[in-house]
């Protein structure tokens, strides 16, 4: 397409990912590649491969500590961003949530909280597990005893053949602990292993990642995180 033959000439077609990663393309050519990346998985994989191959070149670059003011600016920028963490306290959230996902999501929460998937139990901790765009994908609740967790899909996720695995990242810890596999299409009740029960606390994080059938082979998440959220007191 481009006049200088950088893109789309058959011989070089397989190098466009490398040229994009290398950074030799013009602004217009970069936008063109990015448009294709959104829909061509093979090209996206090729770009990821080249990034992995070439990233070591940056080891030749001298690290330079940025001025402190940069972090302050980042804090201000994310403080006003769309990803407010206290989403549960937001009336706007509940309104738009109820309206926008009236069918599945509202029904899920109603079922979860009132109909008694957790019979006779108080529901002290809940989490909304959101995707990258901030949309709620799962809602989870933990019983008062802290040894049972119910997780309900709050949105229709795209049909991915991979397994959905639920992880707990206890407060102050860095290693995710698997809580087991869940279903994107139906509520699931999980027993929390006794060694983890005490660590299912407010501010602990729940996350769902995509894993090979049967779950992560390594005991740590290996695939993309499709939803994550913090447990909070109701």
């Amino acid at each position: 397409m481009s006049a200088n033959g950088t893109i789309d000439s058959p011989d070089d077609g397989n190098l466009i990912a490398a040229e994009y990663v290398l950074g030799v393309l013009s602004a217009a050519e970069r936008r063109e590649v990015e448009r294709r990346l959104a829909r061509e998985r093979a090209l996206a994989s090729e770009v990821a491969l080249w990034e992995e191959r070439l990233t070591g070149l940056t080891d030749a670059v001298v690290p330079v500590a940025p001025p402190d003011a940069v972090w302050s600016r980042i804090e201000r920028a994310i403080g006003t961003g769309p990803r407010a963490p206290s989403v549960w306290q937001s009336l706007t959230f509940w309104r738009s949530f109820a309206i926008a996902s009236a069918t599945l999501a509202a029904a899920s929460i109603a079922a979860l909280v009132y109909v008694g998937l957790v019979p006779g139990a108080r529901v002290p901790l809940m989490a909304t597990l959101s995707g990258s765009a901030g949309q709620p994908n799962f809602v989870a609740s933990v019983t008062a005893t802290g040894n049972t967790l119910v997780i309900v899909p709050a949105a229709l996720l795209t049909n991915d053949p991979r397994a959905y695995e639920l992880w707990l990242i206890p407060t102050g810890e860095t290693r995710p602990r698997s809580l087991g596999l869940i279903q994107p299409g139906q509520p699931i009740r999980l027993d929390i292993p006794s060694d983890l029960a005490g660590r299912v606390t407010p501010d602990a994080t729940l996350a769902v990642s995509l894993e090979p059938p049967g779950g992560s082979p390594t005991g740590l998440p290996t695939g993309p995180v499709v939803a994550a959220g913090k447990l909070t007191n109701m």
């Binding site: 200088n4 950088t6 190098l15 490398a18 040229e19 990663v21 290398l22 950074g23 030799v24 013009s26 602004a27 970069r30 994989s45 990821a48 990034e51 992995e52 191959r53 070439l54 990233t55 070591g56 070149l57 940056t58 080891d59 030749a60 670059v61 001298v62 690290p63 330079v64 500590a65 940025p66 001025p67 003011a69 940069v70 972090w71 980042i74 804090e75 920028a77 961003g81 769309p82 990803r83 963490p85 995707g131 990258s132 990242i169 860095t174 290693r175 995710p176 994080t205 729940l206 996350a207 990642s209 740590l220 998440p221 290996t222 695939g223 993309p224 995180v225 499709v226 994550a228 913090k230």
Partner: protein, 200 residues
């Protein structure tokens, strides 16, 4: 304009001493995806000196690089859930965001502000990676270095300059004083050979 000061360099390197392992960084990104700003702070502390260096190298302007760096971490905050640990290492993912932002900023400037040739690689010792991955990382770096050595000197110099400076084919041709077609063929042949070597 020479923006890199030796004091800042020393600070930057010492700041990297506690570089977290790949899995720690991946977990931190997972927490960032959950809206944990303390985790973002951790990612920033552990990676900002490297990413700022990368941005400075491409933009050669401190204030522009600071703007881009801010943009990079705001992007990390919003897009952390897109990070796929099965596909990329956390540092590769972060470097890619930083380079892409910096290159886009560079392209948005009207004409090349920088025409003087820049040496491809500053000889500076690497920041210390976490012990767990040091061996694996060292092997990867060695292989990349070995494969680059096998290229013709001009090809590998062009590839390094392109990657580190974000220069277009046109700018590289000007800098190295060769026709545009020659530069394209150097880089493309170099890339093909590099891929074959890395996969071999």
């Amino acid at each position: 304009m020479r923006v890199v000061q030796s004091k800042a360099i020393r600070r930057g390197i010492s700041g990297m001493d506690a570089e977290p392992s790949r899995s720690q960084l991946a977990t931190a990104l997972m927490r960032v995806a959950a809206g944990d700003d303390a985790a973002l702070r951790m990612v920033y502390q552990d990676t900002s000196a490297k990413l700022f260096g990368v941005c400075l190298r491409i933009l050669n302007d401190k204030s522009e690089a600071e703007d881009v760096l801010q943009d990079v971490y705001v992007t990390v905050w919003r897009k952390a859930a897109d990070f796929d640990p099965g596909r990329a290492s956390p540092i590769t993912w972060l470097v890619a965001i930083a380079r892409n932002r910096a290159i886009d900023r560079l392209r948005s400037w009207a004409v090349t502000r920088r025409t003087e040739p820049i040496e491809a690689a500053d000889a500076v010792s690497d920041p210390a990676p976490a012990a767990v991955e040091r061996v694996e990382l060292a092997q990867q770096q060695k292989r990349l270095a070995r494969c680059l050595e096998q290229l013709e000197a001009q090809h590998s110099a062009a590839i390094r300059a392109a990657f580190l400076d974000g220069a277009t084919y046109e700018e590289l041709a000007q800098r190295m004083n060769v026709p545009l077609g020659t530069m394209k063929s150097w880089i493309r042949r170099g890339l093909l050979k590099l891929r074959a070597c890395l996969e071999g």
